[in-house]
Amino acid sequence: MTGRPLKQIHLAAHFPGVNNTTVWTDPASRSQIEFSSFRHLAETAERGKFDFFFLAEGLRLREVKGRIHDLDVVGRPESITVLNALAAVTDRLGLAATVNATFNEPYELARRLASLDHLSEGRAAWNVVTSSDAFTGENFRRGGYLDRADRYTRAAEFVRLAREFWDADGAQVRHAGPQFDVTGTLSLPRPPQGHPVVIQAGDSEEGREFAASAADVIFSRHSTLEAGQAFHADVKRRLAAYGRKPDDLKIMPGVTYVLGDTDADAHERAAEIRRAQVGPRTAIAFLEQVWGVDLSDHDPDGPLPAADPVPDSELVQGRTRLGDPLEIAARWRATAAEKNLTTRELVIELTGRQSFIGSASTVAAQLDEHVQNDAADGFILVPHLTPGGLDDFVDQVVPLLQERGVFRTEYTGRTLREHLGLPSPAGG
């Protein structure tokens, strides 16, 4: 870093709701659905001067072998409704909702997001996701009618149209495009932020291009330094084609962290957490996702199954496909052999999602290193405990980042756009 001013880190808090990120067996684990839990995490994030609070979305419960998956935390509220309630108990914190562009309509969602932006005085964000599997579609009028290739086509026009509604400032919008043919008028003035912040969270070529053209923030999953730098460079390079500057798009990987008094303590705790997250049955369920067959009789403490996976199986529903099962199995077998791992140990190794482990000062230094070296512009922190999982980070790591001069000590802006240093969209 030769004389370059320090980059400022952006921080967001992911509410650890469903899936096996959360260690629900921990005695400190509380409700994932009661409002007090959302309130606690949001208040903690605001105490830590975070940019925003983030909620994920899943519109159908996961299934394994045709039955509802019962090992992980399930049960979540509707995001925008929770965020409106949180707007009453917070003052500056941005409020980000993941909302699917496939199972919603532009007029209605534009209005709901504009309402959130007004009711929170400029703190709304929308994480645009596009999953379109027929499995989720069974809960909706239209069903799973969108081809994979069409998802981002619809999403891109959806976002464009939403912005037309926001820009119209209560005037009529006429839009006739390939995806949508609508004429409507929002009952609200232009949102305080102009446009609520748009976040994108897909990793494909189409997803990256969509983000470069239309998103303000990318919620990425590349949390190592090298992968982060490659992703950062790739996505920022795409911006020029859309007349945008590198700073107009913030890259914020979703990351976990484990703190300890010393680095060794933290690593010990991290291993415990991993074992709690991947119990014997969870390990088998993970395997079944690739093998596509019932493996209830397989010993989690033994080697991987001898038989090959069954491609194109619909055994597991509601989870992103990982790739070609035969290839994956071959890769896993090689890893298990090389490191001499049992089935469960292998799953723990493969699903290791702990990005930053160490004492508070180690973690603060690592986060800073990633940002200063352009692997990220900030982080969406995914704690493993609901709702107290962010307390230690805010108490221990935030002050160190502030001392380093890379994180705000007070909010300087009012709106989420101001926190993120994003340009205000030109008026419509």
Binding site: W24, T25, I33, E34, F35, F38, R39, G58, L59, R60, L61, R67, I68, D70, L71, D72, V73, V74, G75, R76, P77, E78, I80, T81, V82, N84, A85, A87, A88, V89, F103, N104, E105, Y107, E108, R111, R112, A114, S115, L116, H118, L119, E121, E138, N139, F140, R141, G170, Q172, D181, V182, T183, G184, T185, L186, S187, L188, P189, G279, R281
Partner: protein
Amino acid sequence: MPRQLHFSAALDSPGHVRADHYTALARAAERATLDFVTLDDSFTAAPHRPDALAAFARLAPATGRIGLVPAVTTTHTEPFHTSISVNTLDWVSEGRAGWLVTVSGTEEEARAFGRRPVAPPPELWAEAADAVEVAARLWDSWEDDAEIRDIATGRFIDREKLHYTDFQGRYFSVRGPSITPRPPQGRPVVVVALAADDLPERTALATRYADVVLLDAPGPDAARAAADRLRLQAGEQLRILLRLGLALPDRAAADALTERIARTGGVDGFHLVPADPGRDLAAFADRVAPALRARGLLRARYTGRTLRDHLGLARPASRYAAGPDPVAATAPAATRSPAEVSR
């Protein structure tokens, strides 16, 4: 001692999009110990207002006891989204949510979605009934004790207590179960606005699914007759609140209103529709409410926590709770009694 009446009020105030405006109104209604407040909605340009459910979610943590009943239309909105949104309002308000069921019957709204042409009201209300049925099934789809956190077996939920709704209707189908656990009230309170001589489809929805009817009637006699008719069809659990214009510029108007309320019989209470919400709700809280309390017609303070408590309505059991066999998935909707469906 006379029977206590139920009161609610509309917070509709065209032109307002800020949260503090609605919070102030809801707090005035809470000072008057009303059962609940309503907020209208539509997908039209005018009047200027936010999404009703959003506005009420925003003021839930800013109020303590008052019930929150936003209008949500069923015509263009996905039933699954409506169910989880109203459910979530119940979670964030800790049991104070209701749903004022409405439809979108205008060309303007249909074009804003561009999904389907405008349909005639009987069809829209028949579809609304399906949307309420689906919502109720989804609310029930998690039994109350579905979350078990059983460390011994590693199971967070007992999946036998989660149920597919498997609704297949003329307008849509929904597989279920909900992604949102059963709301604190079991089912948020279903409210339908109805005129004394309304469409058969809208009346059918009300008598079958509503916990509360907001009744429009041309006079006290018509109101009593309509209320009797509704009760005959729906049963004694239905709360019928007569819609009453509220304009309280001075003390004389407040006294006259108190007398009128005390004289009107045959209904369970009143839905107040203020001419000027800021002025009239404060005047009601300061002048009318104390007079009604003195006569034993209005609660002195909230004794319950949830909107169902205020209305004297029992918390319903999940229809699926009786056993593993999902009743609603096998019995055709039309053959089930209303009691089974909405209470």
